[in-house]
């Protein structure tokens, strides 16, 4: 199946593992959680925090079991720790 590049913007503690951004290749029709699985494969040390991350597109959180739409950029949101 065709794969396409998805750019992922990283914040806070995630940058230690992936830098400010990283691009992964995912199959057309894959879910958002597939992107997280790809990142776990790239850096298994990040697996714990990745399991708590959410994905945002256009400033909205996406449901991880939904298929990717046409977006090329995802924002990977680690657990909030403000306040």
């Amino acid at each position: 199946m065709d794969k396409r590049p998805i750019k992922i913007i990283c914040f806070a503690g995630l940058r230690k593992y992936f830098g400010n951004e990283i691009t992964v290749l995912v199959e057309s029709g894959a879910s958002y959680s597939r992107v997280i699985d790809e990142l776990k494969a790239i850096n298994p040390e990040a697996a714990d925090v990745l399991s708590s991350c959410r994905i945002a597109v256009n400033e909205e959180f996406m449901s991880l079991d939904e298929p990717l739409k046409t977006e090329n950029i995802l924002f990977l949101i680690p657990p909030s720790s403000g306040g």
């Binding site: 914040f11 806070a12 503690g13 708590s52 959410r54 680690p78 657990p79 909030s80 403000g82």
Partner: protein, 129 residues
């Protein structure tokens, strides 16, 4: 009612020198506005404001302010607590703690999740715990 969240000089027994906050700003601003608007309607407030600092905040410095105004104090206090809990739980803001021994750590899940059931389910934190 004004709540000022101020930086403590220790966390879990470790001496803290200062904090640095980072946010995904456009989304954080949008979500804080939504949370405040929801609280105004839900608690029938006359006014509400929440502002969170970014960048370095020193010990005793104010990191976040929540102001709620209502005709009765119960609504103001309840709404204030609701707003700060929601902001800490769901808004993409992150705390980087710097310790006296020269090390630093990104904050883990916020410590206010035990109150989440009073409000609405937060699946993210239920999973994270």
């Amino acid at each position: 009612m004004l709540f000022s969240g101020e930086v403590r000089d220790n966390n879990k027994g470790r001496e803290v020198t200062h904090l640095e906050y980072e946010a995904y700003e456009p989304m954080a601003n949008k979500m804080i506005t939504e949370i405040v608007d929801e609280a105004i309607s839900r608690f029938k407030l006359n006014q509400a404001v929440c502002v969170h600092r970014l960048g370095q905040v020193d010990i005793s410095g104010c990191a976040v302010v929540v102001i709620t105004g209502a005709g009765h104090r119960k609504e103001a206090y309840d709404a204030n607590s609701y707003i700060i809990d929601r902001v800490k739980n769901v808004v993409p803001i992150w705390k980087h703690e710097f310790f006296a021994d020269g090390t630093s750590e990104w904050g883990q899940n916020c410590d206010c999740v035990t109150h989440k059931d009073e409000h609405e389910p937060d699946h993210h934190h239920e999973k994270a715990e």
